[in-house]
Symmetry: C2
Subunit: 219 residues, 2 copies
């Protein structure tokens, strides 16, 4: 289970998550598995770019399954880790989708600095709220992210709709893009055509309700 709504961004989000397993596994292996899983899940979500000091993920193993205790660098460990990552990614995506005022989950598939800049950008996130296929805002956030890349090589996709080719506009089907953006889950793919490294962030859109929740909560 996991709980969180706002002030969420790597690495200190305002959230708590508790995961339980009946597997028998050494404390050391359990800790390593959780750190590995958290890096591809809880540390990949942003609601508003703000953070706090109340961040906690607990993983408790009871050993009730009665298996031979799992140790690192074994097949059993990798099976366990894969299942744990599935759980953590699923919970993390739910946290992002359920962000304050959020109307949709945004997946940003990109190099890390760029994904993080887009996930924090009020302009990219309000465009998502408005179902606006504004790839210029995505490319601009990529540009100021500090990442080194060649803008003239960049392709951008919103869902399956390519909206930017070689860093420029192309005559895409605006209605098809609108249908993609109206869904509860939208994926942005920014392909730099520069090596094989990739990264994912999950975030939500920036809505009127986010402002209401955080401006008026005391009144």
């Amino acid at each position: 289970m996991a709980k969180g709504s706002g002030m969420i961004h790597p690495n200190m989000a305002t959230m708590i998550s508790v995961i339980t397993t009946d597997a028998a596994i050494s404390a050391k292996s359990l800790k390593t598995a959780l750190k590995t899983a958290a890096d591809v899940s809880y540390n990949r979500i942003s609601v508003d770019g703000d953070t706090s000091v109340c961040d906690k993920v607990l993983l408790l193993a009871s050993g009730l399954a009665g298996n031979a205790p799992i140790e690192e660098n074994t097949d059993d460990y990798h099976t366990f880790l894969s299942a744990l990552e599935d759980v953590c990614v699923t919970l993390s995506k739910m946290l992002a989708a359920d962000g304050e005022g959020a109307t949709k989950l945004l997946t940003i598939d990109d190099a890390h600095m760029i994904a993080s800049a887009i996930a924090k950008s009020p302009l990219c996130k309000t465009a998502a709220f408005g179902n606006d296929a504004n790839w210029g805002r995505l490319l601009t956030a990529a540009g100021y992210s500090g990442a080194s890349f060649a803008p003239a090589k960049v392709d951008i996709y919103i869902g399956s709709v390519q909206v930017c080719k070689n860093g420029g506009g192309l005559a895409f089907d605006e209605d098809a893009a609108l249908q993609v953006l109206k869904k509860k889950e939208v994926t942005y793919i920014i392909d730099l055509h520069d090596g094989d490294a990739s990264d994912i962030m999950w975030t939500c859109d920036f809505s009127l309700d986010y402002v209401k929740i955080n401006a008026d909560y005391r009144t």
Copy 2:
């Protein structure tokens, strides 16, 4: 004169400013003066933390005043620079106050990394929109800014009202703070009690209209 509304943050804001003077001054001195003045004005404002590639400040000197041409490291140069800084700061504060959806100008008097983090924080800026004396959000943004300081030494003032002492709460006059926050110009002072360095940023609050402007502008 200056024009800009959103996508504004150092060092590449979406703005244009043109300043004219009839002073006679060498091109080299004029350039140095503008760079110096821009660093304490245009590079101290944020509307939304987003930027773009359309940033420009022009300073044109006609020489019509007929004075002996001003050169650097003279009294005349410092008089000229001081006046130029006044003009640039005034225009920069107007740009921040006139940000998309803004209802007020926020001045953040602090070390640079902290001022910049607060100026970009959706939580701090929505609190300002809601007239909420939420010093915890200010201190939290200071904490994640990357600046090195002792939280237990921090004092925070909203206008003349102290709202945080030695990093903790104190029984301040909530109504007095509300009256300060309801004004069109509000100053946050975060005193780290750690040396004499200080920095200023000007930003605006984060309102419902900001989201509307940037989500619905095409419909």
